[in-house]
């Protein structure tokens, strides 16, 4: 049982220990789908949704099943996450084909996003209870979305500027990310 308040968990996950910029989780979408603000937003929301579901599932597994077999933790988490994403994908496809078309390839890709498994493992290591886990998941999801949207906005405006030929592509994105991360360091020690 962890004694942190919900407020500090939320802000710590969203800003101070931002999953992307401070813990390096979820870098693949950060590099891959941050070229347009709109896609970045959509990816962020898909992530929040899956993060919340994962947090619930991880809490359930930890409380009722894994107590007797802690060594199965990694395996069971990854299976549960993979099947969750599959279920969500099928459900959205059936219920709202328009939304499904918009999310496209991003949904299945979320399975191999380290932020999701990372959240489940951090939650377990820190011993969050049900409500704390939920707050943690929402905070982390909002933090991911924030980082993605910031990055996408910068990239949109850098697109037409005159950068040296060798800096075009990933090198430039990484340096921008480093600068963003430095900005977020200003929040360090807040909680």
């Amino acid at each position: 049982m962890n004694e942190q308040t919900l407020f500090s968990i939320f802000f710590s996950a969203m800003i101070v220990n931002n999953f992307t910029l401070a813990l390096f989780l979820g870098l693949c979408p950060f590099m891959g789908v941050s070229a347009r603000v709109e896609t970045a937003l959509r990816m962020g929301f898909a992530n929040i949704f899956v993060l919340v579901l994962t947090s619930l599932a991880a809490w359930f597994l930890n409380t009722y099943i894994l107590e007797t077999a802690p060594f199965l933790r990694i395996i069971s988490f990854i299976i549960v996450i993979a099947s969750l994403v599959q279920i969500v994908e099928t459900a959205i496809k059936k219920l709202s084909p328009a939304l499904f078309r918009q999310l496209g390839i991003f949904l299945p890709l979320i399975t191999t996003n380290c932020a999701i498994l990372g959240l489940a493992i951090f939650q377990t290591n820190r011993g969050y209870d049900f409500l704390q886990g939920l707050t943690f998941a929402i905070g982390a999801g909002l933090g991911l979305t924030l980082a993605l949207v910031l990055m996408a906005s910068i990239r949109e405006s850098v697109e037409f500027s005159d950068v040296p030929g060798i800096a075009k592509g990933t090198g430039l994105v990484l340096i921008i990310a480093g600068t963003l991360s430095m900005a977020f360091m200003g929040f360090a020690g807040l909680f």
Partner: protein, 215 residues
């Protein structure tokens, strides 16, 4: 059909298709745990172990794994070896295990490992797959140790814990913080881009020996 020799399978992963520096796979561990050389070594050791074991097992069983559920099967195999690596590290290197924390478990979702299984081990013989895994693992280790070296030397003024510069050196604290990870990898990529550009220019010049007047 085989288009590459065994030697090429081994060499390819080290430089030309280096997983971190060229293919941009496995970035999370490459950035997160490279604040010291010791951590980088422990991480690449664990990844190397998981990678070689799962490559051998998957290429052995490739006939029995149904095509439709192959990705889940690969993930299961990888997760099993990650659990093993986690326990081994906890038993033999508890200090590193504590430092790396959750990132050992996150080897499961390292796209580099899954990528090699899907594109190589599931189609090639056991020996070839092992060579490929070792090559990619060595490439991963080189990238991680290079980053860890830069960040530790500049960030703390020491290498593997031994001080290098004497007491007058002011460490660049930013290099061991998260921002330093992004910046280090960014600058390494810029350097690689510059080398690549120069090579391309030279090749073009060879093709057209008559230099253009206007340039």
């Amino acid at each position: 059909m085989r288009t590459t020799t065994a030697q090429q399978d081994f060499i390819r992963g080290i430089w030309k298709e280096n997983p971190v520096l060229v293919q941009m796979l496995g970035l999370c561990p490459a950035l997160a745990v490279t604040n010291s050389v010791a951590n980088a070594l422990a991480m690449s050791g664990a990844t190397f172990f998981v990678m070689s074991c799962s490559s051998v097992l998957i290429s052995t069983c490739k006939r029995f794994i149904p095509h439709e559920v192959r990705i889940s099967a690969y993930i299961l195999v990888i997760a099993t070896f990650v659990t093993l690596a986690d326990m081994l590290l906890q038993a033999y290197a508890p200090a590193q295990h504590k430092e790396l924390g959750a990132f050992i478990a996150l080897i499961v979702v390292n796209c580099m490992i899954l990528g090699r299984q899907e594109s190589f081990s599931s189609k090639n013989s056991v020996f070839r797959s092992l060579l490929d895994a070792i090559g990619t693992g060595v490439g991963f280790t080189i990238a991680l140790v290079m980053m860890g070296g830069f960040r530790e030397i500049l960030g703390t003024g020491s290498f593997l814990g031994y001080p290098l510069f004497g007491p007058n050196f002011e460490p660049w604290v930013i290099m061991v913080l998260p921002a330093g990870g992004f910046l280090t990898l960014g600058f390494i990529l810029l350097a690689m881009g510059a080398i690549e550009q120069r090579r391309k220019d030279r090749a073009e010049r060879k093709e057209e020996p008559v230099a253009e007047v206007s340039s």
